[in-house]
Amino acid sequence: MKLRLVFALAMIAVLSNPAFAYIDPGTGSLLLQGLLALIVGALATIKLYWKSISDVVARLFGRRQRSDRK
């Protein structure tokens, strides 16, 4: 229990941003930015794997084209 508390405090120390120091960012604003971070993160992941995704799509599309020709 004590260990968990120490760990939690240590995490707060590590995670808390220095810019948060003296004004309250407000939970609404934090959640909004969290949401934005999530969306941007998702877009970035899609972009990262875009080549493989587009390859897969192209392959599917290509196959269908071939099957269309048949």
């Binding site: 995670l15 941003n17 220095p18 810019a19 948060f20 120091a21 003296y22 004004i23 309250d24 960012p25 407000g26 939970t27 609404g28 604003s29 934090l30 959640l31 909004l32 930015q33 969290g34 949401l35 934005l36 971070a37 999530l38 941007v40 993160g41 970035a44």
Partner: protein, 463 residues
């Protein structure tokens, strides 16, 4: 140098990393040891010199190396000619300050620095130009950090601007009552449904407000959200999209009586206006003031004359928003040393905020060497029932010398003020006006400026 606690500026307590002091008319800032790292980072990056070079940030010089006792560093700031507050600005001024805040932030991000707050009180105006004044707002940026001051930016800038843009009601009364600005909750309650749901308003105002209500007692969700990584690109996107949005905002249109006072019909023939301009010029040339206060400045036409006659700087006050917009445009387009501000002379800015001292009254910020008050006194003496002797004493208390216009009965502008009401102003006579001046000052000269009998009184205050 010892900075005494009594010289501490009451408005600088919020950020414990530093404190502002005024001493002998100079402005100092003590920077606490815990803020020195960020301060050095700012100074050593090219950001500081870049911002100061562009006149986006006030300059500072180091006065003392960190003292061994407190570990604080003392710097001296350049002095702002006249400190004004957001509740004294027009829509265009708050808009310019908002854009400036965002521009400074974007420039800072290019140099690995971010802003820890977004208080509109950190922006001041030197004439028509906004300038950032708080070096301690700059902190090192680590990619992934959230914009901690997003809410403050919205409350101090975005919400008041939206409020005026959507409802056509000036934000000044609201901002004067609430130093924290206009909250999202209040604004969302006011907005009709279609406005709440319009795309940008929804994203920036309604959604955070709803999220805040949803997250009440849901600390886990907030914890989860705030541990996410906000890329720099996403942060820049937030800042630039707010900037674009604000730049496109305008106050909901409305016409007021005085907006075109000098462009359309007024009480002077062309010749009479010329006489008035000539006398203002003579007055300024004769008194050679550095700073002039123009009470009831309207669109700044006589402020401009005062500047042309040699005044170094004019601070103008009026309570007509549209006239002030015209004055601000005049100052900006003609690059005049002129700052027009909103002020209701019958209810001027008080000392208020924390401990009644955080923001200073108009009177305690007085820096006028001379005053002009043209077509002004009747609006207060007749329009607002201010006793003539009190009004004159107040005007004379603002500046050691001045030029005050007296509007006599029979003048069509004065008669218009009495049109729908009983004339209870038997004391409103030129003789009483003159004797009220003579109670506190000396009458140096009187010029008649219209056929209706308007007169310009030159006074100099008794020492």
């Amino acid at each position: 140098m010892t900075l005494r606690a009594t010289e501490g500026e009451e408005g600088s307590f919020r950020d414990p990393r530093g404190r502002v002091y005024s001493h002998d008319g100079r402005i100092f800032r003590a920077i606490a040891p815990k803020a020195l790292g960020d301060y050095r980072w700012l100074m050593d990056s090219r950001l500081y010199s870049r911002l100061v070079g562009k006149r986006w940030l006030t300059a500072a010089v180091e006065i003392e190396t960190p003292s061994t006792q407190t570990g604080s560093l003392v710097i001296e700031h350049e002095r702002i000619p006249f400190v004004s507050y957001p509740y004294e600005w027009t829509f265009s001024q708050l808009k310019a300050a908002a854009v400036h805040q965002l521009d400074v932030h974007l420039e800072a991000l290019d140099h690995g620095v971010t802003l820890s707050d977004a208080s509109a009180y950190n922006v001041q105006f030197i004439d028509a130009n906004p300038i950032f004044i708080d070096v301690l707002s700059f902190v090192r940026y680590q990619e992934g950090m959230f914009w901690a001051a997003h809410r403050q930016f919205c409350e101090h800038y975005l919400h008041p601007l939206l409020f005026t843009a959507k409802f056509g009601i000036p934000f000044n009364n609201w901002l004067r009552s609430n130093m924290e600005g206009l909250t999202g909750q209040d604004l969302v309650r006011l907005l009709p449904l279609h406005r709440k749901l319009s795309f940008r308003t929804f994203l920036n105002v309604t959604l955070p407000c709803w999220l805040q209500q949803f997250s009440f007692n849901n600390d886990a969700a907030v914890q989860r959200a705030s541990s996410r990584y906000l890329s720099k690109a996403a942060l820049v996107f937030m800042l630039t999209s707010l900037r674009d949005w604000i730049l496109a905002m305008n106050p909901k249109s409305g016409t007021t009586t005085w907006g075109r006072y000098y462009e359309t019909g007024h009480n002077y023939s062309g010749v009479e206006a010329e006489v008035k301009h000539r006398i203002v010029s003579e007055f300024i040339a004769c008194r050679a003031p550095r700073t002039v206060w123009d009470m009831g400045c309207n669109t700044g036409i006589f402020s401009e004359t005062a500047l042309a006659a040699g005044a170094r700087r004019v601070i103008g006050f009026d309570f007509d928003q549209m006239a002030l917009e015209g004055a601000y445009r005049r100052a900006k387009e003609k690059k005049l040393a002129f700052l027009p501000l909103f002020q209701d002379a019958a209810n001027p800015s008080p000392d208020h905020g924390w401990n009644g001292a955080e923001r200073k009254s108009l009177f305690s910020r007085n820096n006028a060497d001379a005053l002009i008050a043209l077509a002004f006194e009747h609006h207060l003496a007749i329009g607002r029932n201010i006793p003539l002797d009190q009004l004159v004493a107040w005007l004379v208390s603002l500046a050691p010398v001045g030029l005050v216009e007296f509007i006599p009965r029979g003048d069509s502008n004065l008669d218009r003020l009495l049109r729908h009401r009983e004339d209870i102003f038997e004391n409103y006579t030129e003789a009483n006006f003159r004797s009220a001046i003579e109670d506190v000052a000396q009458v140096d000269r009187v010029d008649v400026v219209s056929t209706s009998g308007r007169k310009l009184y030159w006074y100099s205050r008794r020492a």
